[in-house]
């Protein structure tokens, strides 16, 4: 059976000051993904290897890691597509728990701070919503919260700013573009969410395993909405006039 060389980042922060890449040799069969190889090491070589996985079908987003330096889902990365010398490392934007496992729970605080769905006052019950109005929001609802976008984003990864990160702009956009929602979260994103830190370098969009066009369909539209509110004098004037009329 063919074998590949699999380097896995190993570190138990309670014991090791620095991590190291440990090389394993793993037999591969057709169609095998990186997660299979990592699990093979766990089941046969070192049962204490920490790796997080759950659905193994690219639907839960648990097994996010950096494979040969690129943020990817381990369960979705086929070994035959990336060659036989593979290195797997944990996501660098998050605090390491052990080996390949990081702590993504600080993100829930951001999620809590984001204004919740707030249906329009005069909506009928049950809602009447046209199919043409659900498409945009539904794209963002494909998000599996793997947090790879937060990992690859340089604002989160290399600079410690107040930026909420791509995941939560996608979340905000999914609510903002909900046809029944009455809020405009671009205000939150600009004032508290730090959307100005995004410099549209599109790494998040490039690596999104759910193929959400994060930058083009969520971040840029939210930036434009924020511009309407805070930067565009004409729009601000129009808004004020409309308010006066009401």
């Amino acid at each position: 059976m063919k074998k590949i060389s699999l380097g896995i980042y190993r570190q138990d922060p309670s014991a090791d000051r620095k991590g190291k890449i440990v090389k394993y040799h793993v037999p591969v069969e057709e169609g095998m993904v990186v997660l299979d190889a990592v699990r093979h090491v766990q089941e046969n070589t070192d049962p204490t290897l920490a790796v997080r996985w759950n659905c193994k079908a690219a639907r839960c987003g648990s097994c996010a890691a950096e494979i040969n330096g690129v943020p990817k889902l381990m369960c979705k990365t086929r070994i035959e597509d990336i060659g036989d010398d593979i290195t797997v490392e944990p996501m660098r934007s998050f605090t390491l728990v052990k080996d390949l496992v990081t702590d993504i729970s600080p993100a829930w605080a951001v999620a809590r701070s984001l204004p919740h769905f707030h249906p329009r006052q005069r909506s009928v019950h049950p809602f009447r919503i046209e199919e043409m109005d659900v498409e945009r929001s539904q794209e963002f609802r494909k998000c599996i919260e793997c947090m790879l976008c937060m990992d690859v984003c340089h604002v989160k990864r290399e600079h410690n700013t107040s930026y909420v990160g791509p995941r939560y702009i996608v979340k905000a956009a999914s609510l903002d573009m909900h046809p029944m929602d009455s809020l405009d979260r671009s205000k939150f994103l600009d004032r508290e969410g730090g959307i100005g830190y995004c410099n549209v370098t599109k790494c998040c969009q490039a690596i999104c395993p759910a193929h959400i066009r994060i930058t083009e369909n969520a971040i840029i539209p939210e930036k434009e909405r924020a511009a309407d509110l805070f930067y565009d004098p004409l729009m601000m004037l129009l808004k004020r006039l409309r308010k006066v009329k009401d």
Binding site: E158, R225, A227
Partner: protein
């Protein structure tokens, strides 16, 4: 990062690397060269940089500088925030200060739409220039240079109309199409624009290349290069 918030000019400009300096130098050099060696018109070809007036050049220049596509370009390759997505080639690190588009200077990116409006006013001149080149000599004439200009005009038009700010204006800012007048038509226009918008990056770069190509082509003609063959001609009516 409270200290960073007080910046007016981002760190990458106040403490520029050779990449930033050469980028600024190139921009200035190009502008000076355009001023010093003008070619407003030659044999029915009007140079896009001078149409209608070289003094208006800052508008399309700012259009492109504040365009989301070119922002991505210089943020990656000039400012290196980050240069690439994969871990090995990011060339971004924690020690560098980062303010993104939050400083007063960079907040100008939010006014992209005004440069779009300005450029929309200039756009008809591209069509006028094309018309002039096709009717050079009184009849209808199709020369190699005109073909270049047809492609250039088409690309510039598509680039401008596929803009993200326009996308927001014609429907992106609305949450509910069916709540407005003529929802199907509006959604149709929005979807069509979105289709071109998804190719905005390619259009941005190609249109820039073709504008420069037309300019260089005209300069080459002036230098006497025998490249402007005629494909088709109807003598003046």
């Amino acid at each position: 990062m409270t200290a960073a918030k007080r910046r007016i000019v981002p760190e990458e400009l106040s403490n520029p690397s050779w990449r930033v300096l050469s980028f600024i130098f190139l921009l200035l050099a190009a502008f000076v060269a355009l001023l010093l060696f003008p070619v407003p018109e030659f044999k029915g070809y009007i140079d896009p940089f001078y149409s209608p007036l070289i003094l208006l050049l800052p508008i399309p220049a700012m259009l492109r500088l504040t365009c989301y596509t070119f922002r991505r370009g210089y943020n990656r390759h000039v400012f290196q925030h980050p240069q690439a997505c994969e871990a090995a080639n990011r060339n971004d690190d924690r020690s560098r200060d980062y303010t993104g588009e939050t400083t007063p200077l960079m907040k100008i990116e939010n006014l992209h739409r005004y440069f779009v409006y300005g450029s929309l006013l200039i756009l008809p001149f591209f069509f006028y220039d094309l018309f002039v080149s096709l009717t050079y000599g009184g009849g209808f004439i199709l020369r190699a240079g005109s073909i270049l200009m047809i492609v250039e005009t088409a690309l510039v038009t598509l680039y401008l109309l596929s803009c993200n700010s326009i996308r927001s204006l014609i429907g992106g800012r609305n949450d509910c199409f069916s709540c407005m007048h003529a929802p199907r038509a509006r959604k149709g226009v929005y979807d069509l624009q979105s289709f071109f918008n998804s190719h905005h990056d390619n259009l941005a770069w190609l249109s820039l290349i073709f504008v420069v190509a037309v300019d260089l082509y005209i300069r080459a003609l002036m230098a006497g290069w025998p490249i402007d063959f005629t494909l088709f001609k109807i003598v003046g009516i």
